[in-house]
């Protein structure tokens, strides 16, 4: 479980996150949603320690992450996997070496065992037989899937995804969403996904928190969204004509 307690973050006296508290449960896909510029990515980067917070606490299964020194943070980070918006694959090495990288760095397994694990992870994301391809030879969806394979290589306890389906067609986006959801349940990990894709919210959102201008405006499950009377959430959810029509058809 990941707990956030009263997180505040500002950049050069410009507040980006204000007093955010939330709990993200194990084995569930937790979503952070909000408009572009609402602070989703900053919040996610604060949680994983890429940004230092101004005040508050971040707890990973009771361990206060933000007060740890660099060495202690490194140890916790070995329990994390992250899927970046642009996949962030190492572009000078092939898919196999990308997925094997954390295994090479943090395990003493034989090459055979490591290769088995790589093949298992690639198979899990339906990327078998792509071992020798370079990231530049992959499509957007394949890059994301390879990045997920790398993220799960070390059996992480926490998985973070920053806009996993941005720039993907709807079908591939659903594939990626389903994959994240399945992996979360299969390996019983705590997953936090940043997104502004409503399709993802309705597909995989076990728990959803909504950010508006750096403030947590709403929290609930995907089933609560349509019945919410939160003005900002409704503006966000029903921004598209398709969503408006769905609401109209539901309200009769």
């Amino acid at each position: 479980m990941i707990e956030l307690k009263n997180i505040c973050k500002s950049f050069t006296s410009n507040p980006v996150l204000e007093d955010i508290s939330a709990e993200f449960e194990k084995g569930k896909t937790n979503l952070i949603i909000g408009r572009s510029g609402s602070g989703k990515t900053v919040l996610l980067k604060c949680i994983v320690g890429l940004h230092n917070i101004d005040s508050g606490e971040i707890l990973f299964d009771g361990r206060v992450f933000n007060r740890m020194n660099f060495k202690q943070k490194q140890e916790i980070r070995q329990e994390m996997g992250m899927l970046f918006q642009g996949a962030a694959l190492f572009d000078s090495v092939n898919v196999e070496e990308n997925v094997m990288y954390p295994l090479n760095m943090f395990t003493n397994d034989s090459y055979k065992n490591k290769l088995e694990r790589v093949n298992f992870c690639l198979h899990r994301v339906n990327m078998q037989d792509t071992n020798k391809l370079l990231p530049s030879e992959l499509s957007g969806g394949m890059r994301k899937r390879a990045a997920i394979a790398r993220a799960i290589a070390l059996n992480p306890r926490y998985l973070f995804c920053d806009e996993p389906n941005s720039g993907l067609d709807p079908q591939t986006a659903i594939l990626i969403d389903d994959l994240i959801h399945e992996i979360t349940e299969e390996f019983n990990i705590t997953t936090i996904v940043n997104t502004h894709d409503m399709n993802s919210v309705m597909e995989i959102g076990d728990k959803v928190i909504f950010l508006y201008d750096g403030i947590k405006c709403w929290e609930g499950t995907k089933n609560d969204i349509f019945s919410s009377d939160n003005k900002y959430l409704n503006e966000f959810i029903f921004a598209t004509n398709l969503a408006k029509k769905i609401k109209e058809s539901q309200t009769g």
Partner: protein
């Protein structure tokens, strides 16, 4: 700086990285160092001969001039400036691109000390290999002068060979190597710094690459003066 010189998570991975950098930063620079050194050695030989107008001065001074010109200034300092352009911009743009494409963040999330993993092997590879490039430059420069002694009437090849062996001070050689080791550290660390802390996109990567070359060159020139005063005076 303390993050860069932290103890590696896994020595074998760092060793592999150092080998990669030796090839990327060192071996790939051999060509340009050889070409420039041969031509500069040849030019110094012609200029030295041109300045020896007095018939009382022996022609073997052409060899002495080429040797000392290369040893004292060209092979350590000018080659370092050339490497600041070639290697410095490459280090800065490589690390800068990794920064803007979130590859460095990905390393950090995995629990890797990205500063150490990316920068330390470059510093070690540069410090280890650049002195060899200095020696290579020296050899190629003297070869360039020797070729000119064959092709032109500046002096006889025998005079030239006699000149490059004449009154040789071994500490000039160690002075050149010491300078090159310091310059190697400056090039790799200054360039890595500019790449590592880049913010923005491809335009900023380009700017950081330019800054890396400019600052490396200025620091090299400054340390050239300081080291010359400290070692030679």
């Amino acid at each position: 700086m303390s993050k860069v010189f932290a103890w590696p998570e896994k020595s074998r991975m760092y060793y592999k990285q150092i080998m990669k950098e030796l090839e990327y930063l060192g071996i790939s620079s051999i060509g340009i160092v050889v070409i420039i050194s041969v031509f500069v050695g040849a030019v110094i030989a012609i200029q030295a001969a041109n300045n020896i107008e007095n018939p009382m001065l022996p022609r073997y001074l052409v060899g002495v001039g080429v040797r000392d010109g290369l040893l004292l200034e060209f092979s350590p300092t000018m080659v370092a400036l050339i490497l600041a352009g070639k290697v410095g911009s490459s280090i800065s743009s490589e690390i800068g691109t990794m920064r803007v494409t979130e590859q460095i963040d990905a390393l950090e999330i995995m629990g890797v000390n990205s500063a150490s993993y990316l920068i330390l092997p470059k510093i070690i590879a540069s410090i280890f290999f650049f002195p060899f490039l200095c020696i290579l430059s020296l050899i190629c420069g003297m070869l360039g002068g020797y070729i000119m002694s064959h092709l032109t009437p500046i002096c006889t090849p025998q005079d030239y060979i006699y000149g490059i062996q004449y009154v040789f001070y071994p500490h000039y050689f160690t002075y050149a190597l010491k300078k090159m080791i310091v310059f190697a550290f400056i090039i790799s660390s200054v360039s890595s710094y500019h790449g590592y802390f880049v913010e923005g996109g491809s335009v900023e990567v380009g700017k950081s690459s330019t800054r890396a070359v400019v600052y490396s060159s200025i620091v090299i020139l400054l340390f050239n003066l300081i080291l010359t005063q400290l070692i030679l005076l």
